[in-house]
Symmetry: C2
Subunit: 350 residues, 2 copies
């Protein structure tokens, strides 16, 4: 008997799908990217799915249900954008235990629907059933893209620039803040719920609203894709940062057959996040590399596009693609070379 933790999440998926063969001519890309890609005769159809389980992916002691719904939808949209596509439809499946009321599920749905409205996505179906314990959310998203526009993970070339949008590690610091306040709250208000919205812990969250928002209500970066389109830049490889920069860079490099070199002093880090990390005795660079849930876009593009990238707001060039022999390394502030490791959240080691 083999314990699942031996494989880890990616290892298990790889193991289970290693000799999958496709028989449908419409299947253009299966397991191994942000989305599957299908050709049904005109535009390509993209498909992605995410499952969120209570106690594993979210803690309802501090996550409001409306925010949870919003985030559950947006993380799927982010996967479609990460292929340079446009999300169009979702289905929502819910497993709901007796603890939840109709009003709770309405709140969850209101978040999902708000996300759909903001991103012009239609909610077209789903499944709702009771569960023995807790809340389970499974969302599948379809999107479209012209075949020539799709960006996969495997297209990074030697000397390509490595770019990332927004900032990294901030969602993780938001989570740390929420977890810390929960502990404080638990020790002083046994049995009641913490709610960032009621103001009872206002002092602790004051001035840190941005960190909370990054954790509780992330946005997908369609604005970056629009800016790239306007600038006439097509990335060579792309994915969204859900598990952490290190983990995602390793995916792009292994699938593209290249190495990479990123610079510590180029990593975009939010000031508030850095301050909180210092206060909590955490290394913000480690958080930026491995924190995950930032849902920023990570992509590579030709060095010839350098001039076109510079004017784009909120976009950072953090390194470049190397020969595979070089491996995947971070160059520290003092010039030291540190091998990147996928230390991101391993779902099976908790």
């Amino acid at each position: 008997m083999t314990e699942i933790s031996k494989y880890g999440e990616f290892g298990l998926i790889k193991h289970l799908t290693k000799d999958l063969k496709h028989v449908q001519p419409s299947t253009k890309k299966g397991v191994g990217d942000d989305c599957a890609v299908m050709d049904f005769g005109s535009k390509r159809v993209l498909m992605t799915t995410d499952m969120l389980l209570e106690g594993i992916h979210f803690n309802l002691e501090y996550v409001p249900l409306k925010h949870l719904g919003y985030k559950a939808a947006v993380v799927n949209f982010s996967d479609i954008y990460a292929m340079n596509g446009t999300p169009t439809q979702i289905t929502v499946s819910l497993g709901i235990s007796k603890r939840f009321s109709v009003e709770d599920i309405e709140a969850l749905y209101s978040g999902i629907r708000l996300a759909c409205e903001r991103y012009n996505v239609d909610l077209v179906g789903g499944d709702t059933c009771s569960s023995m314990t807790g809340l389970t959310i499974s969302i599948t998203c379809l999107g479209v893209a012209a075949a020539k526009d799709i960006v996969y993970r495997n297209g990074a070339k030697l000397n390509d620039l490595i770019c990332v949008s927004g900032n990294l590690g901030t969602a993780y610091m938001g989570l740390q803040l929420l977890e810390r306040e929960l502990m404080v709250h638990r020790s002083t208000n046994y049995g009641t719920n913490l709610s960032p919205s009621t103001g009872e812990t206002e002092g602790a969250f004051e001035g840190k609203e941005y960190l909370l928002e990054r954790q509780l209500k992330p946005e997908a970066r369609r604005d970056i894709l629009e800016a790239l389109r306007k600038a006439g830049v097509k990335p060579t490889a792309m994915m969204d940062v859900s598990d952490g920069l290190s983990s995602e860079l390793l995916h792009i490099c292994s699938q593209s057959g290249v190495g990479c070199c990123v610079y510590e002093d180029k990593l975009p880090i939010d000031y508030e996040a850095a301050a909180l990390a210092e206060e909590m005795n955490l290394n913000i660079v480690t958080c930026a590399l491995n924190g995950g849930e930032d849902y920023e876009l990570l992509f590579t593009c030709s060095i010839n596009d350098y001039e076109k990238l510079i004017p784009i707001d909120d976009l950072y060039i953090i390194g470049h693609i190397t020969k595979p022999e070089y491996g995947c390394n971070l160059i520290g502030r003092n010039g030291e070379e540190i091998g990147l490791k996928a230390q991101g959240f391993n779902a099976f080691e908790n």
Copy 2:
């Protein structure tokens, strides 16, 4: 605070989605049928999703994981066939607790993959994560159909014939048999697992293999669609029987704005199932009406197609469509009229 059981599964979905608006021109049909329907420029794309939760939808004390995987995939294919489409791709999301080994998940996947091979469907993606308790399976299936071929639930017309494939109530009797043997087994072998495959309860299952197969390893009726196509018959309304004949007939009638009349003595009932029902003091007609999980096709078609339907194997005409004022009724063996009710499994009343 409103308890979810007040709405029930269908009521809750209806409540949550009642004022949904679509903004994507590609969305042709949203919530309310077996699948959503999208138009991406050539063939229509169908999409359906099903979530299965341990302790609610399956009991691993007697359901082998390979069978569970097979069934989880096939019930999605069945939804695509129920729109007269062809399933093409699935994504599989799993939530797995520590109790499960890699070998367990391999067994589950082998069933999913076997179903994919048999039905020519590609497994193109998914999500795998740990869960706090039990096993959660969420599968989303895409399919294709020419726009003119799609059959919705809302097309039944006055005087149309009501047809059903296979037989009804058999999967439910298979479940009763498994539950009964589990009780016997629990009282004599406390702490061990019942397995229909090990032969230890062989006596009890002998001669009843068909009932077990209907429950543990259902098939989707693509053969019926092929026969209808060959015969030149296009149903006016169609769905698969997952919740029970009564429940499905009420869906078709309410969406089509019609009533229906079905005859008790026309309901296709398996001999073994009837014998077991008698032995267990159950009314087989009630099982046929409300048992669910048969995954047979229920459809209506024009009375002009009557001659074409007769030669088709394993297909039964059980009644006809009436004016809406008549309601939905079963005519008993003695001519009595009994109103149909959706007594099918209510997921929120357990």
